[in-house]
């Protein structure tokens, strides 16, 4: 303050101010906390998409992980050591996912990583953990090559989510059985215009042809991801009059397509096979969910139709006041595997835990027979509940699901891996 009372900043004060700001930034931004590995909380870094169009992916999956951690901590943790989740938003950007995960390891001294990233982010995280050697559990990426391709696989990374290859076999075998039963010859497909849409559709058609070689394929439509208006797609379907339509649209895109299709009575005119409809948040988002749509199970509490599954859903709803999603169970399962590893080794050392995870079997409400296995050969889960059912317009939306036989999945998956040169 100058003598005249006029506001002015002296250079020394200015430099002090800048110095102060820099100190605060340094302390807040670079908290280098050095701790011994076997004392203090067990820190798990969680990177997830918490903002933007698919923020629900992050919120519902982190909820699943939090439920497991709360139960572990309430039971006393590991000899009093509690799990601390450090959750950060990757904004759906792979470079940001890589940076955040490097920070988890290098700055926050995390013992392990729970990756709740979609496929692109998961591949970025995979490269980080491959380089830094930290234990990682991928929960949401469904791209099969992440664990199936030996060039991409790394001994310290596992997957607790469903796989595209498994889903495609399940979808193809179910759709072929309905096609035979109802004489569905002429097919169309509608998929979002990006890699997931193209790959899933191609794999589905591959297995549909395998089980029912006499189908005819009409137009394949590729609306843009997050497209608001599906009139062109609907008109094309009405014009072509197929017997059946396969779609791998998902989330808001799928509910918009169904809402708009309802206006044209689209779903009365053919059989629809939606691989990703049976998730409560999607089904509940449609005002008038048509009956008779075929869908793969994402998450429904009726499948597996066991008491533990119903209880898990009830507990989730009680804690978070919303319905769980497919992403919720995948994250909960991933966390469960990590916790079982911690308990089994009595340690938070990632290398030790990575040593006991291959082949581990856990009791799980999402397992087709009450258990899920972390398959040793490719570090991914098998024997989870996967199947198809038919929707009804009211709760429970999909009362019955026909489970896919895992023997069939194993057989065709092995053939697919051979074809790809993975084995």
């Amino acid at each position: 303050m100058g003598k005249t009372g006029k506001r002015s900043i002296h250079r020394r004060a200015f430099v002090k101010g800048i110095g102060g700001v820099a100190m605060v930034a340094a302390v807040a931004g670079f908290p280098a906390i050095v701790r011994a590995r076997n004392t203090g909380p067990i820190r798990i870094g969680v990177s997830a998409i918490m903002s933007g169009r698919v923020a629900q992916m992050g919120s519902s999956s982190t909820n699943g992980a939090i439920m497991r951690v709360d139960a572990f901590n309430t039971s006393g943790g590991l000899n009093g050591r509690m799990i601390e989740l450090i959750i950060r938003d990757s904004k759906g950007r792979p470079d940001e996912a890589a940076r955040i995960n490097r920070d988890f390891i290098n700055r926050d001294d995390c013992d392990m990583i729970l990756s709740l990233e979609a496929s692109t982010g998961a591949f970025a995280v995979q490269e980080v953990v491959r380089e830094l050697g930290t234990l990682c559990m991928h929960c949401l990426s469904e791209t099969s090559s992440l664990t199936a391709d030996p060039k991409l696989r790394t001994p310290n990374a596992f997957r607790s989510g469903r796989q595209g290859a498994h889903d495609a076999i399940s979808a193809g075998s179910y759709a072929a059985s309905i096609a035979k039963e109802k004489s569905l010859k002429k097919w169309m497909t509608v998929g979002p215009n990006y890699a997931y849409g193209h790959d899933t559709t191609e794999q589905f058609l591959n297995y549909l042809n395998h089980f029912s070689p006499d189908i005819e394929l009409g137009s394949q439509l590729w609306p843009k991801i997050f497209q608001p208006d599906y009139t062109d797609v609907i008109n094309k379907i009405l014009q072509e009059k197929p017997d059946a339509v396969f779609t791998c649209l998902w989330g808001g895109d799928l509910s918009s397509f169904i809402e708009q299709g309802n206006l044209y009575g689209l779903f009365d005119q053919a059989q629809y096979f939606c691989i990703a409809l049976a998730d409560y948040t999607t089904m509940a988002a449609v005002k008038h969910l048509p009956s008779g749509i075929h869908s793969g199970n994402r998450y429904v509490s009726t499948f597996p139709g066991s008491a533990p599954n119903a209880a898990w859903e009830a507990e989730y709803v009680r804690q978070f006041n919303s319905r769980p999603t497919n992403w919720s169970w995948e994250a909960a399962l991933g966390m469960q595997f990590l916790i079982e590893g911690i308990r089994k080794t009595g340690s938070s050392d990632g290398n030790e835990i990575a040593g006991v995870l291959p082949g581990m079997i856990v009791n799980s409400p999402f397992g087709v027979d009450g258990t899920i296995t972390m398959r040793a050969e490719d570090q991914t889960i098998v024997e989870y509940g996967t199947g198809w059912g038919v929707t009804q317009s009211t709760e429970p939306f999909m009362p019955n699901v026909t489970p896919t036989d895992w023997k069939l999945i194993y057989e065709l998956e092995a053939a697919w891996k051979k074809e790809q040169g993975y084995i």
């Binding site: 938003d89 792979p94 890589a98 700055r107 496929s119 692109t120 970025a124």
Partner: protein, 335 residues
């Protein structure tokens, strides 16, 4: 003895490198080194963009395309296993420069808004090529399988300290070169084109050739930034080439200032530190960034470094005014 400016800048850069190289000896916190690498990648991207925006007066919204081209071409060359890192680095620079020159030949014919639009169009073209050419680029999954980093000249880029020092070293060389460019007659001609294109043309300056040269150089430096990022994340992803990447570059220039040479670098540091801090404490990154930009636009009305440098200049000027008393009484100064 008169030391030429290039030598002087090189000596300053060397001193800065010595300081930066001391950081890994002071701390074992690798995340600080990671932040340093991010600053090198983004800072070089912003500085190169400012060669167009601040020096040549060309608002390019397609600069992210060259950043992505650098990351992808470097990654792809390394994945062949046929090149050492320096060879892949050099080839990538040549490739990105050639690509930028080709794009520039089309774009510089257009002025202002249309120039901005066509650069954006080229960026979206690159982006869609990345997405659709799945067999080469991995499509929207990105370049998979990691980028091999074979040891060369005793430098192992898998080691975070080596990677940090490598990025800092190359970054400082690029900064010196960029500064030399802006201070050269070529740089002054670019400024003349920015301030009055018609006058430059009347004076016999081949305006389009200068613009092509500026665009090519800026693209090549952005490509080096992309290579840093590819090395850091051990991959390349379509988001590097999305229009938001170019938008981030504009933000960095706005935050740091476009009139001071190092302004965009300061902007990159602000954006990265802001991103780091907001990601730790909140999911509302966009809201925080929006508020900060509002403060800069409405409060400072220019970038931070421009504000500081111009403030110091104004204070000096006012002190000079006070020291040199006017010979004519104040009331007699003609208005």
């Amino acid at each position: 003895m008169q030391i030429n400016t290039f030598t002087r800048y090189s000596v300053v850069a060397l001193l800065v490198f010595v300081v930066l190289a001391a950081i890994p000896r002071i701390t074992d916190d690798i995340s600080i080194l990671d932040t340093g690498i991010m600053i090198c990648a983004n800072g070089l991207f912003a500085l190169s963009l400012n060669l167009l925006v601040g020096r040549t007066g060309l608002l390019s919204f397609g600069h992210g395309g060259f950043y992505a081209a650098g990351a992808y071409s470097f990654g792809l060359l390394m994945q062949t296993g046929m090149f050492s890192i320096p060879a892949a680095f050099a080839l990538t620079i040549v490739f990105v420069a050639a690509l930028s020159a080709l794009v520039a030949l089309v774009c510089v014919r257009l002025n202002e808004t249309y120039f901005t639009f066509i650069t954006l169009a080229f960026q979206m073209l690159f982006y869609n090529i990345i997405l659709s050419w799945t067999s080469l680029t991995g499509g929207d999954q990105g370049l998979l399988g990691g980028i091999p980093k074979p040891v060369f000249l005793g430098i192992d880029l898998v080691n975070p300290v080596h990677l940090y020092l490598f990025c800092c070293g190359i970054f400082l060389v690029c900064v010196v070169l960029l500064y030399q460019i802006t201070q050269s007659p070529f740089g002054y001609t670019l400024r003349m084109i920015r301030d009055n294109t018609e006058r430059a043309r009347f004076l016999g300056v081949a305006v389009n050739r200068y613009k092509v040269a500026s665009f090519t150089l800026a693209g090549a430096f952005a490509g080096i930034g992309g290579m840093f990022m590819a090395l850091f994340v051990s991959g390349a992803y379509p988001s590097f080439g999305y229009w938001t990447m170019s938008g981030d570059g504009i933000f960095m220039i706005m935050l740091g200032g476009m009139n001071t040479f190092l302004g965009p670098l300061v902007g990159a540091i602000i954006l990265i530190v802001l991103n780091d801090l907001t990601t730790i404490y909140t999911d509302h990154y966009g809201l925080v960034l929006g508020c900060v930009i509002l403060v800069f636009v409405l409060g400072l009305r220019r970038g931070l470094l421009d504000f500081i440098v111009e403030g110091i200049r104004d204070r000096r000027a006012s002190k000079m005014d006070q020291t040199i008393q006017p010979t004519v009484p104040k009331e007699e100064i003609p208005r």
